[in-house]
């Protein structure tokens, strides 16, 4: 983690702000690459979700959002005609913090990835 070095910046510089559009692009790319043509298999799915989350987290970390704490949530479910609803709410500083999400579907599974970034003052 960022070694509590004090920067005294209460707001990130515009270049260093969490940019949802860019992160959404990363998520889309990674998910499409890993899940296209994959069938829902209860044996593989646990490690697939975890490794997908790790890949997304590493990608976002390496793109320069240095002072941001990240939470990446991945949801993979089987498509069987059931109804699903996922919703989030956050108590944070709307000026500095933000999130990005993407949904992917093929005929046997659906996948939702959400990345939340919170500025570390």
């Amino acid at each position: 983690m960022v070694e509590g070095s004090d920067t005294y910046f209460l707001r990130p510089n515009h270049q260093l702000k969490f940019k949802p559009a860019i992160v959404k692009g990363y998520i889309r790319e990674i998910v499409r690459e890993r899940l296209s043509g994959v069938q829902y298999d209860p044996e593989n799915v646990p490690e697939l979700t975890l490794s997908l989350a790790e890949s997304v987290k590493d990608k976002v970390k390496s793109s320069g959002f240095d002072r941001y704490k990240l939470v990446v949530q991945v949801l993979i479910g089987e498509q069987r005609g059931q109804g699903v609803k996922m919703s989030s709410r956050c108590l944070w500083d709307a000026d500095t913090d933000n999130y990005a999400e993407d949904v992917f579907m093929n005929d046997s599974l659906f996948c939702v990835v959400a990345v939340f970034g919170s500025y570390y003052y």
């Binding site: 646990p46 989350a53 704490k69 949801l75 059931q82 699903v84 919703s87 944070w92």
Partner: protein, 113 residues
């Protein structure tokens, strides 16, 4: 140089948060059966209730609350999360709850300020 930190950094307490989540879900949903038209309202209410109770605690935390409601249909569901944060002060709590017609999974992530 003296350290001007007056309070200790508080840590995320999992048991308290878990209790808050369970109470919120019981209050909002309880024994009702899955209705597609009401799901929107349920997720919003569960998440809002959790957030209200969490902020009442008055701790210096930013919160992310996530709620998933799925109809029981025999289908499989898997969720995973990974975080880049300070292990000493930040934490998460996930509660899985079910009734006869649906599964509810609520995750709360607390990030210290």
């Amino acid at each position: 140089m003296e350290d001007y930190l007056l309070e200790e950094k508080t840590a995320f307490v999992v048991e308290e948060v878990s209790k808050i989540i369970k109470d919120s879900v019981e209050t909002v949903i309880g024994e009702v059966s899955y209705k597609h038209g009401r799901v929107n309202q349920w997720t919003t209410s569960v998440v809002e209730q959790c957030l209200i109770q969490l902020s009442k605690q008055g701790k210096p935390f930013k919160y992310i609350v996530n709620c998933i409601i799925m109809q029981k249909n025999g289908a499989g569901l898997q969720t995973a999360s990974t975080c880049f944060w300070d292990n000493a002060t930040d934490g998460s709590c996930t509660v899985r709850w079910e009734n006869e017609s649906m599964y509810v999974i609520v995750s709360v992530f607390g990030l210290a300020i």
